[in-house]
Subunit: 917 residues, 2 copies
Amino acid sequence: MLQAALSNEKTTKKVILFSDAAKYFANDRTRMKEILGGKGAGLAEMTLAKCNVPPGLTITTDVCREYYANNSQLPQGLFNDVLTELKQVEDQVQRKLGCADNPLLLSVRSGAKFSMPGMMDTILNLGLNDETAKGLTKLTNNKRFAYDSYRRFIQMFSNVVFSVSKDLFEDALDELKFERKIKVDSELSGDDLETLTDTYKQIFKTKTKIDFPQDTKDQLLQAIEAVFKSWNNNRAIYYRNLNKIDHNIGTAVNIQSMVFGNLNNNSATGVCFTRNPSTGEKILYGEYLINAQGEDVVAGIRTPNKVFNLQFEMKSLYDELNDTARKLETHYRDVQDIEFTIEDGKLYILQTRQAKRTAQAAVKCAYDLVSEKIITKEEALQSIEPLKLNQLLLPSFDIAQKEIAVESGKLIATGLNASPGAAIGKIVFCPDEAEVLNSKNEKVILVRHETCPDDIHGVVASQGVITSRGGMTSHAAVVARGMGKPCVAGCESIKVDLDNHEFKVGNKIYKKGHLISIDGSTGEIFDGSIDRHEPKITHEFDQILKWADEVKVLKIRSNADTPEDAQTAIKFGAQGIGLCRTEHMFMDPLRLPYVVKMILATNVKEREQALEKLLPMQREDFIGIFKAMNGFPVTIRLLDPPLHEFLPKVLDLVNELHELKLNKADSSKIKATQALIARVKDLSESNPMMGLRGCRLGLIYPEINKMQVQAIFEAACEASKTGIKVFPEIMIPLVGHVNELKVIRTQLEEVATSVMKEHKLEIAYKFGTMIEVPRACVTADEIAQYAEFFSFGTNDLTQLTFAYSRDDAEGKFLQRYLEGIEINGKREKILIDNPFEVLDQNGVGKLMKIAVEYGLQTRPDLKLGICGEHGGDPSSIKFAHQLGLNYVSCSPFRVPVARLSAAQAALSNQSGVTKDV
Amino acid sequence: MLQAALSNEKTTKKVILFSDAAKYFANDRTRMKEILGGKGAGLAEMTLAKCNVPPGLTITTDVCREYYANNSQLPQGLFNDVLTELKQVEDQVQRKLGCADNPLLLSVRSGAKFSMPGMMDTILNLGLNDETAKGLTKLTNNKRFAYDSYRRFIQMFSNVVFSVSKDLFEDALDELKFERKIKVDSELSGDDLETLTDTYKQIFKTKTKIDFPQDTKDQLLQAIEAVFKSWNNNRAIYYRNLNKIDHNIGTAVNIQSMVFGNLNNNSATGVCFTRNPSTGEKILYGEYLINAQGEDVVAGIRTPNKVFNLQFEMKSLYDELNDTARKLETHYRDVQDIEFTIEDGKLYILQTRQAKRTAQAAVKCAYDLVSEKIITKEEALQSIEPLKLNQLLLPSFDIAQKEIAVESGKLIATGLNASPGAAIGKIVFCPDEAEVLNSKNEKVILVRHETCPDDIHGVVASQGVITSRGGMTSHAAVVARGMGKPCVAGCESIKVDLDNHEFKVGNKIYKKGHLISIDGSTGEIFDGSIDRHEPKITHEFDQILKWADEVKVLKIRSNADTPEDAQTAIKFGAQGIGLCRTEHMFMDPLRLPYVVKMILATNVKEREQALEKLLPMQREDFIGIFKAMNGFPVTIRLLDPPLHEFLPKVLDLVNELHELKLNKADSSKIKATQALIARVKDLSESNPMMGLRGCRLGLIYPEINKMQVQAIFEAACEASKTGIKVFPEIMIPLVGHVNELKVIRTQLEEVATSVMKEHKLEIAYKFGTMIEVPRACVTADEIAQYAEFFSFGTNDLTQLTFAYSRDDAEGKFLQRYLEGIEINGKREKILIDNPFEVLDQNGVGKLMKIAVEYGLQTRPDLKLGICGEHGGDPSSIKFAHQLGLNYVSCSPFRVPVARLSAAQAALSNQSGVTKDV
C-alpha cells in the first residue's frame, strides 16, 4: 500500500525538497537520478545521510520535458508549487526571499541525469536587489561583500536570462579599476562596488530597454525558465551528441539557499578527502581558509591551511566535519572528496564525490574499509583500477627530486611512456657492449633507433631502453613491458648517432657512458641520477590479491621463456605458463651460431647435426622451467618466427660485400659473403608475417620440431624423476588448416612416445594449437579434432583480422587512426583504442566467439586460453571471462593486474551488469 | 499395385539377368546402380536400349553385404539361383557351360556402385577345362586360340582364387619361349600352348596340393566367392579410404557370356566414338581389327582400320553399329565411346561411356544434339566443361608440327603452363626493349627471372612471357592470364642472364633476338617457329553462350583497367566492369615520373602539383572505359598498392650508390641517390601487404583519392554529354573498419558533388567497398551503413584468412602442401586445391557467408559481387551463385567460361543437387 502511494506521488510531484526526496524514491537511486538529475540527487542523498546541506528544492526533469512538449511554457501552477516549497526552506534557514532585513539568497542551477559540466546555465546570489543589498550590508556589516555579490548577480542574470554580453560588464569593471588606478578587484571598496552596481544596472537597461528586475520572485521565475532553455543551447546539444546522451532526458533545476564562508571570521570554506589520497591513511586531508569563498582556496592569493589544523582553530567544527566525513564514507561506501563551508560557526556540506587516489591509497583504503566493515570484499575488489597496480610493482623516482630536476633544466627529452618504471644508468648504444658492461656490474641504459630480436640480449643487460622511433607496440616497448623494464619509446627529439656513440638533443650532445635517469611511466629522460623508491608488496596488497583469487573464475598464467621468468611469474601468483616462446631460447649468443648453421644447412643431415648441439641446451631450459612451475601446466610453443630473423639483413651484407671489395679483401671472404647473401635472399620474403613460419616450418623441416619435442619430453622425464610434477602442453603456432595439425601431431607424438618409452615414464601432456589465423577460427570444429587446447594468439589474430602489420601500422597510419582524420574541420577518429592494446571485441572478438563455439561443439572439454599482450589488459580479460575461456596468460609483471581484473570480471558478471558479449 | 509388386521383388531378387533389370528398377537409375553396381547397371541399360550385349546376369550388392554379415558365407540357395538364371543365358547364346561340343565361356567381374578401376578381381574364359578346350578347338578350328584362352584362364583362376603368384606362370612361359628360341608369345603354336597348359596345371597342383578344377560349376562358384572376397583386399580398402567410399556398399558380381572377335575372319573387335571427338562432326570415329581381340587394337602390333572403312568390309554390320551408336546417344543423351566385338558376323556391344572430347567438339556436339532434339538446351549447357572453353579463345599450335618439333629436338624446356595460348617471337629480356621492338612491329617474347609491376609495359608489348621462377599464381602468371597472353612460368631449367642478354639450358645458349615459340597450355618452349591456328567464335559457340545467358542468374562482369580491355570484355559478353584497377594506369612509362614525383613530395602542395598532371590522363582513360561500357556499370577501385611499389628497390639503389662512389661520381649525384634511398627506406615496410595501402592511403593522403574521384566524375560528365550512359561505382579497397569508409565517403562525395554541380549534371553512381579483410566480413553490418555494394576481393581475403602471403607461399610451402607431406612413408596432402585458384569455401567462404548475411541485414538491396581471379573459376562461380551474389567479375578472356559456369550453377541449383552451402 505504501509502495503504491509512493509510486503515485512519483508521477505527480514536480517540486521536491532535498529533505523530502527519500520518501519519494525510497532506495531507487537510479530513478532518483533520472527525476532529480545528478546534482539534485546528490544533494538529496547527502541530506538523507544527515549531512548539513544548505536547504533547497529540485524542480524535476519531468517538468523540463513538459516545458518543451508544451511549446516552452512552464506547466500551470508550477511556480506556485515552487513558492510553497520555498517557504519551508525559508523557515529552515530563517531568512526570506526579498526580505530587506534578512534576505535569503539562492543559487539556481541545472542538473541532468548525466554530468554535462559547464554546458548549461547557473545563477548565483539570486534574491539581491537594491533593498536586500542594503539589508545584507547591514546584516553582515560588510558592504564590499554585499555589493560584490549584487554586481556579480546582475552580470550573471543579464547574461543568462537576457543574453547580454559579459564583456560589457567586464569592460565597466576594468574602466572603474583604471579610474581608481588599481589592478586587483579586491582593492575596490564597498562604495566602488555600489557605484559599479549602478553602472551594471544601466548596462542592463540600455540593452534590454527595461529596468533590472527588483521583484525577487520575478528573478526566480525568469531564472528557472532560463535554466530550462539552456538545455537546448548549442553547446549542450553538441556535448550530448558527442557523448551520445539522449536529447529527451531533460534537466532538473536546483534552487538552493546560499551560504557564505566569507561572512565573518567565524566562517570558512575548504575541501577535504576523508582519507589521505596518496597513502590511504585514515585522516582528514585537505585545505581550508577562514573568512573566504570557495574560489579563494583555489585562486592561491592566500595560502590555505591544512584541514588537520582546523581542530586547533575550531575544534567542534573539525569534529563535526570528521563525523560527516565518516558518515559520507559509510553512506557512499567509498572514500570521499568533500566541499564544505562554515557560515558563522555552522558547517555546511556543499558537494561530495568519490576521491581520486594513488594505487597505494586505493589498495590501503579498500583493505581498511573492509576491516572497518564499511564495504564487502567484493566492493573492495571493484574499487581498484587494475592497471594502477603496475605502479606498486615498480621502483619510482622521488617526486620532489624530479621536480627539482625539471626546474634546473635536467629534463633532456620526453618520449612515449612505453613501459613504466624508473631506471638509472650509463648511456650505451650497442647491445653487445651493454652485455659486457652488465657483466662488470655497470648499470646501463640502451639507446637505439629501434630494437629488433637480435638486440634482446642488450635489453636483458640494461636497466631500461630508449628508442628514437616506434610506438607503444614497437618491438622495444613490447619486450620491455614483457620484462618489466622501463622504456621510453619513439623519442623523436633524440637524434641517435650509432657510429659516433652519441645522441643529440638540439645542440646538446650526450656521449656513451653519460649517466641518465628514465621514467618509463611518464616518458621523461633526465640528465644525471634521481633517487628511487623500491616497491614492496604490502600486507594489504597481498590480501586484496588473495581475495581476488577467491572470486575469479579465470586462471591466470604467465608468458615466460626462461626459468627466471617462470620464477618471477610464480612470485606474482601465476597458475602456470600460457606461452613459452622457444625462439627466444635460440637468441642466446652461445646458441645463435648453431641456429645459423642449422638454417644454412643445405641438407637434412647437416641440419640435424646443428640441431643435436641445440638439443641439450633447450632441454636444460625446459628442466628449469618445469622446476619453477612444479605442479602447474607449461604451454610450450614450437619454433614460430621465419628463419631469416636469425640471419643478418641482406642490406647489411651487401654493404659489407662492397666494403670487402673496396678493401680488396681475400677472395674467399668475398665468395663466402656472396654465398651468404644468396642464401639470405633465398630465405627472405615479401611478407614474412604470412610466409614460411609457424607450423609451416615444422612441416617443411620436421627435424626442428622433432628436436624441440625431444628436448621437452627428455626434460619432463628428468624433472619428473626428481619428484617435480610436470604438465607440458605442446602448442603448434599459426595453424590454419586441420591437416597441418593432424600431420604434425602424428609426427610429434611418435617422438614423445619414444622418449617416454626410453625413460619408462608416462608424462601427462596435452597437444594443442594457437588460434591466430582467421581461418582457424571459422574451421575450429575441424581443428578441435586434433587439438586438446586452443590458445588465442590475439596479437597475430589482430594483425590478420585487421590486415595491420604491427611493425608497419604504428608508424605509418595507426597513430593517425587513433588521433583522428581531419574532415570538414573536425577530427574523426577511425579507431577508439589501439587494437594491439585493447582487444577488438567487435571484430577479432567475433572470430574468437565463433572459434569457441565451434571448438566446443567438437570437443566439449576443450581447454581455452589467451596468450599475448591482451592477456594483461583488463577489458580484454573481462571479455575472456565472458567468452568462457579457462585462462589468460600475460607477462609476469602483469599477473597481479590480471588477477584483479579476472575477479572484477567475475563480479560484474554476477551482478549482471554486462552480459552483452 | 505394380509399383508395390516391383518394390517387393527389389528386396528379394538376388540374381538378375541383364535383360530383366528394367522390370525391377523401372526408371530408378540410382537404385539400379546401387544394387547392380556401375558395370552391371551399364550392361543392363545397354540391353534395355536394345543393344546386342552378350547376355549375362548380375549377383546384387545385397549379396555381398549378406556374405560379409554371414561370416563370409554365400547365402543359402544363391548358387542355385545363379544356375537357374544361367540357363536362360545358355538358351539365348545356344551354348552350355561345361559342354564339350559347344562350350559357354564366361567372364566373372566385380562392379561396385562407384568405379574402383583394377582394385578388385576379374576372371575371364571361365568354363574351360581339358574337355571344353578340345571342343573349342574343334568348334573354332583354332587350337592356338583355344589353348591360349585356357592357359590364361588357369593363370587368372589360380591367382585370384588360390593366390598363386602370377610370376610362376610367367616364368614357365618365358622358359618355353627360351626353349623354342622365340621372342614373341604369338609365335607359339597351338601345340606349344597345349604343353604350356599342362605345365600351368602342374604349377597349380604343386602350390595347392589339388588338381586344377575340371568341374565348370565348381569353377564358377569359386570365382564368385573370390570376387566377393576381393571387396576387402588391401588395395580396395586403401582405394576406398582415399576416395572416401563407404566400405559397406559392397560389390556386385557380373557373369557374362564371352564373345570372341578373334574367332575367324568374320569376326572383329574395335572401339568407336559416336561423333568425331576432335571436331564434333556426326560420323562414327574409331578403329577396328578383323579377327582380333580387344588387346590387339591397343597393342599396336597390327595397324587398325578406321571404323569409317568398316562399311566397305562389312556394310550391314557398319550400319548396325551406326544404328546402335545413335540408339546409345539417344538413350544416354550424350556422345558415346563404345567398345564392340563382332563374333562370326554378329555385333556385340561390350561397353559404352561418355566420350571425352575437345572443347570444339563439346560445343558442336552440344549444339547439334539440341538441334537433333536429343537433349534440351539445359542438358547441352551442362555437358560442357567450362574451363575447356579457354581453348576456343586462344590461338593454338598445329599438333602435327609440334610433334615433329619434339622429335627433331627443338623442345628447349618445359615449365609451368601458367597461361594458355601459343605465341611466337624473338627473345627479349628487358621490358623497355620489348616496348621499343613492339613499336617497330617486331614480335617478341619477354624472358625474366620473374616479373613485377614495373615490367607490365613489357608484358603488354610482348606476345608471351617466360619466367624462370614463380608459380601458377606468380605476378607474371596472373598478369598474363589477365591479358590472355601465353605464359610459361617457373621454368627452372632456364638460367636467365640479364646482364648478357641470354639464357642457358644446359650448355646451350639462347641469345636475345633468337626466335622461339611457347605453348602456354602445355608449358613447352620450342626453338624456332611453329604454325598456329587462330581461334574463331563459331555460330554454335555463340549460340551456347546465349543459351547460358538465358539461364544464368549471376551477372558476369569483367576486370578491365584500360579502354582496350573494356572493349575485349564487351566482345566476350561482359555485363559491366567489376574491377578497374587504377594503379595499372599509373604504370604507364609516360606517367610513372609524375607518380614518383607525387610519392617523393614532401608536402601536400608538391603532391597536388604532381597529381594535377595525372588528372587529365586518368580522365581520358575513364572516358574510354565509359564509352566501351555504354549502359553497363563500371566499378573503379581507387589506388590500392603501397606507394613503394612505384619506386626503385632499396637494394638496387644501394648497389647504384656503391657504383657511383667507386666511380668517384659527382657528389650531387651521390647525394641525390642517398636521399632517394632514405625516402624509399622510409616508405618500405616489413609486411607491405598489411601496411600503408588501400583505403589507408586515401586517409593519409586524401589528395590522391580526391584527384581520382575528380577524374572519374569529369569523365562521367563528359561521356554523358556525348550520349553515353555511365554508371560509375566508386570502390574503396582494404576497408576493415566502418569509420574508414565513413570518412572517405564524406570526403569523396564532396568532390563528386562539386564536379557534377560544375557540369550541371546528375550522374547515377554508387559508393561501395571491397570486402577483403576478415574484419570487414564480421562487421559487414556496420560497413553496409556506408556501402551500397560489396565486392569480395577474394585474392586478399584468401591471403589474410589463411595468413598466406601469395608472393611467398607459392615458392616456400604451398606447392609442398598440395603435393603432400611425407609421414610414415605416406604422403598426406595438407590442401586439395590451391586456394588462390579455387575458392576455399570451408574457410574463406564461411567469412563471405557471414558478410553477406550481415550486409543484407543492414541494407537489403546491397549489391554483391566477386572480383579477383576466383571470379573465373567454375566451382567458385557456383559458390557465388549459391551465396546469392549478384555478379562475378573475371578477366576478359574468362568471361565466356564464367557465363557458362553461371548457367550451370543456376541449373544445378534448380535440380537441387547441391544446396549445402
